[in-house]
């Protein structure tokens, strides 16, 4: 498939008129999904489709058109759309020295199938027990990316991703969940996802109380990943509106946090040799010990850090994180919560909104929920607001323990067990 599809894309790129640069981007995604939900029919899904984009630059203007049919007639239609669109658009600056050599082509090996996906879901259901009120979703995605342009640059790569997700359907517990994501279905362990789910379920059982004292807050990897997914938006260079943090700005002088976007080449989940504009992907440190080190950019909002993202719905090319996580600050494993002194919450759910995780306005305000522990004893489910300036909230992190777990939330985001002091809890 890759060879013939790439040949088709190259033919379109080579149809550039004198003075034009034509870029063609194609992403093929084949995914399977199997869902078991109490009281409903089992559900299976196979989806197979293309996202195709044609971008034209000429005479100081650029045009963009996208579609989802990879065929000669479909591409020809997009070429016309892109030329029509070009008449309205300013051209981005593209230093030719930044156009990288083509990476070697890879051949996809699609071996994930619906039967395997269904087996993972059924195994998980069997281990968890038929009576447990939870929805189990297993899925696999096989992604092939092709890119070429009229300068002769050509490249391709494949990515695979398998997911297992368990979510409670019991009234009052819809935030209880467990998830695992790996490259292959065979690498998924139902036991790990079940452990995380049961831990979350037990922590959230019962109507949450608001405690009168909090000494420490222990965030689960999933919660840290969700917080990172929100905070990282302030590290993306804006294209036409909005703002980003300034490089060199001190967000939190006393914070030990280092946030990294690392989707560069190599083996591992979510890695790729080039971004959706063909620029090389790399490891970019965004925040180091509370100081802004770099921002993510694409050609339209440069300099490029290999972070261009050609999305599905809004067809503009934007900058985005690809594989963002908080780096551990120590080599220790997460502590046993019952051994932590005083009163604290083991947080398994976080609630907030765009404006509640805003490093730009300095507005950090979100709600966390989980198990309340008093001197090592479980004291029920609790919730509390975390409110403060970026300096206070990021400075409250005391330890980020080892072993980063990644989760899919549009992009890939990672985190590990992290301990905060309780000073940022608003009781």
């Amino acid at each position: 498939m890759t060879a013939s599809a790439l040949e088709l894309c190259e033919r379109v790129a080579n149809s550039a008129r004198p003075g034009e640069r034509v870029e063609v981007f194609a992403r093929h995604v084949r995914s399977t999904l199997s869902r078991l939900r109490p009281g409903s029919d089992p559900y299976d899904q196979i989806a197979d489709g293309w996202l195709v984009g044609v971008r034209i630059e000429a005479g100081g203007l650029a045009g963009l058109a996208t579609g989802n049919v990879l065929s000669p007639s479909g591409l020809a239609e997009l070429l016309v759309d892109a030329r029509r669109s070009r008449a309205m658009a300013p051209a981005p600056v593209v230093p030719s020295a930044e156009i990288p050599p083509a990476p070697p082509a890879l051949t996809p090996t699609p071996d994930d199938n619906l039967a395997s996906t269904r087996d993972i879901a059924l195994t998980t259901r069997s281990v968890l027990g038929a009576a447990e009120p939870a929805t189990i979703t297993a899925g696999s995605t096989h992604r092939t990316v092709l890119r070429c342009d009229s300068t002769g640059w050509t490249g391709s790569y494949t990515q695979r991703e398998a997911q297992l997700h368990i979510r409670s359907t019991a009234t009052g517990l819809d935030a209880a969940q467990g998830a695992r994501i790996r490259e292959q279905l065979s690498e998924l362990s139902p036991a790990d996802a079940i452990d995380e789910y049961l831990h979350s379920r037990d922590a959230l059982a019962g109507h949450p109380v608001v405690p009168d004292r909090i000494d420490w807050i222990l965030l689960s990897p999933l919660v840290v990943a969700r917080v990172v997914s929100r905070l990282s938006r302030a590290f993306v260079r804006p294209q036409t509106k909005g703002r980003a943090l300034d490089v060199g700005a001190v967000v939190s002088g006393g914070s030990p946090l280092t946030i990294v976007d690392d989707a560069g080449p190599g083996s591992g989940l979510g890695r790729a040799p080039f971004d959706d504009e063909g620029m090389p992907r790399r490891r970019t440190v965004l925040l180091s010990k509370g100081v802004v080190v770099a921002l993510l950019g694409c050609r339209d909002a440069g300099p490029s850090t290999g972070s261009a993202y050609w999305g599905d719905w809004d067809s503009d090319i934007t900058s985005a994180t690809a594989r963002c996580h908080v780096e551990p600050t120590c080599d220790d494993s997460a502590p046993v919560p019952a051994e932590l002194p005083g009163t604290g919450i083991v947080v398994v759910d976080v609630r907030g909104f765009r404006g509640g995780f805003d490093l730009l306005s300095g507005n950090l305000e979100f709600e966390v929920a989980g198990a309340l522990l008093r001197d090592g004893e479980f004291a029920g489910s609790a919730r509390t607001a975390v409110v403060g300036s970026p300096d206070a909230v990021l400075g409250a992190f005391e330890h980020v323990y080892r072993h980063v777990e990644f989760y899919r939330m549009q992009g890939l985001y990672g985190g590990s067990w992290s301990l905060l002091n309780g000073s940022v809890a608003q009781l």
Binding site: S40, D41, A47, D48, G49, N68, V69, M88, K241, R354
Partner: protein, 436 residues
């Protein structure tokens, strides 16, 4: 695995459309992008071990048929033939009968008018976007074929004055077409909001009477009541579970009806081919109904209310609102404010995070003013409002000043256009939390 299993039904869905986005940057330079969508899906529901439901999605009928190779052993040959017939029928209808095409030329005038409206009202920088989603689809189900077409247009304006931003959105509704004047008003509204927020005060935190102006009230009802009554969420929502104990204000009645011209997506048939009608969710303070699709109606032995929405051909339908109506009460909006000694009046909600299973909700307010001694006063900075079913039951005023509103609603990564029509509402005890 399912060979020979009794067939419940096969349906096929095909879609073809374009999305166009035209924007004017803050410096006034234009940009336009075009996206073409074409794809189809087939669903098979068969009885075996309690039933199994399968969907294949792809961009062509041939591709979906190939994917159906994985159906081998899953359904019998007759079922596969029916699925193929359905695909060919839907594909033919969409390809030959209903190819959308929209002239984007007029949008330049709207964008310019919105920009001028904002600049004339003190904005330092403006970015405007025009969106057009023109979509034709066909559903083949139970050997009948249903086709529909929707063309949605809207304009968003983001304006900045100093360090504060304001935004507004105006949609092209069947009952209120998008005009140059409406675009200019949207620009002025965005600039006005940005200007107001420049001198905003931090609200006092704690339990506070909250008045929702009509547009915000519509968004509030959508997030707190509407989502909790979408059948897949209602299965675990506290509101549905406790509906017989829940007594809301007797003047509060809520419906969903997408057939009216005020509905952003005006339609008489949903994306499963089911006719849609008026569904009562709350009747004089009592929660009485849910929004369902085929998959969630059938286990209850009920008929779908016609609220299956896909968002895109490749996603299976789930129950979603379209146009939610809160009937007007007898309270005058001016009197509601006048009767409030100290509180806040919410003009626009930025985002919401409802927790239906617990009956709780958390909303981020973007635009609000203080109410002191029955008068609207200083503008307030962004803050959050939280509450639960007990707070909702305290709703004590339903205005008579219904006004329409629109928003893009995202669930499970699928964004669909929704609209609402609501009057001013007052909840006497919600928790306001502003950062000091």
């Amino acid at each position: 695995m399912w060979s020979g299993a009794p067939l419940r039904h096969v349906d096929a869905f095909a879609e073809r459309g374009t999305e166009q986005i035209m924007r004017l940057h803050a410096d006034g330079t234009p940009r336009r992008s075009i996206r073409r969508i074409s794809g189809m899906a087939v669903r098979v529901v068969s009885d075996h071990n309690g039933g199994r439901f399968l969907q294949c999605a792809g961009t062509t009928a041939a591709q979906v048929r190939d994917l159906g190779g994985e159906l081998a052993g899953a359904v019998d040959d007759a079922t596969r033939r029916r699925a193929t017939d359905g695909l060919l029928s839907t594909a033919g209808l969409v390809d030959t009968g209903n190819t959308p095409a929209t002239d984007a030329g007029i949008s330049v005038d709207w964008l310019a008018a919105a920009r001028e409206g904002a600049l004339a009202n003190g904005a330092d920088a403006v970015e405007t976007r025009w969106w057009c989603r023109d979509r034709a689809y066909a559903v083949w189900r139970d050997d009948s074929l249903i086709a529909s077409r929707t063309c949605l247009m809207w304009l968003t304006v983001s304006a900045r004055t100093g360090t504060t931003r304001g935004s507004s959105v105006v949609a092209h509704l069947p009952a209120a077409p998008l005009t140059v004047e409406a675009a200019a008003q949207a620009g002025a509204a965005a600039a006005g909001q940005a200007r107001r927020l420049g001198g905003a005060a931090v609200p006092r935190s704690g339990p506070t009477p909250v008045i929702f102006a009509p547009d915000a009230a519509g968004a509030f009802v959508h997030e707190v009541l509407g989502h909790a009554l979408e059948a897949d969420i209602a299965e675990t929502s506290a509101m549905w579970a406790r509906r017989t104990q829940l007594d809301l204000h007797p003047a509060l009645s809520v419906f969903d009806d997408s057939r009216v011209p005020q509905s952003w997506e005006q339609t008489t048939v949903d994306e499963e081919g089911t006719p849609c009608g008026r569904v009562t969710l709350v009747d004089r303070g009592r929660v009485v109904g849910r929004l369902t699709d085929q998959a969630h109606a059938r286990p209850q032995g009920a008929v779908s209310t016609g609220h299956g929405r896909r968002g895109l051909y490749s996603s299976p339908p789930i129950p979603r609102m379209r146009h939610t109506i809160v009937t007007g009460g007898s309270d005058d909006a001016v009197d509601i404010v006048a009767d409030t000694r100290h509180g806040v009046m919410v003009l626009a909600i930025e985002s919401a995070d409802a927790i239906p299973a617990q009956g709780r909700f958390v909303m981020r307010v973007r635009d609000a003013v203080e109410v002191v001694d029955g008068r609207a006063g200083r503008p307030l900075t962004s803050f959050s409002v939280t509450g639960d079913l007990a707070d909702l039951a305290l709703l004590d005023a339903v205005g008579s000043d219904n006004a329409p509103g629109v928003l893009m609603c995202g669930r499970q990564g699928r964004w669909v256009p929704v609209s609402h029509d609501a009057p001013t509402l007052r909840l006497p005890r919600l928790t306001v939390r502003g950062r000091s």
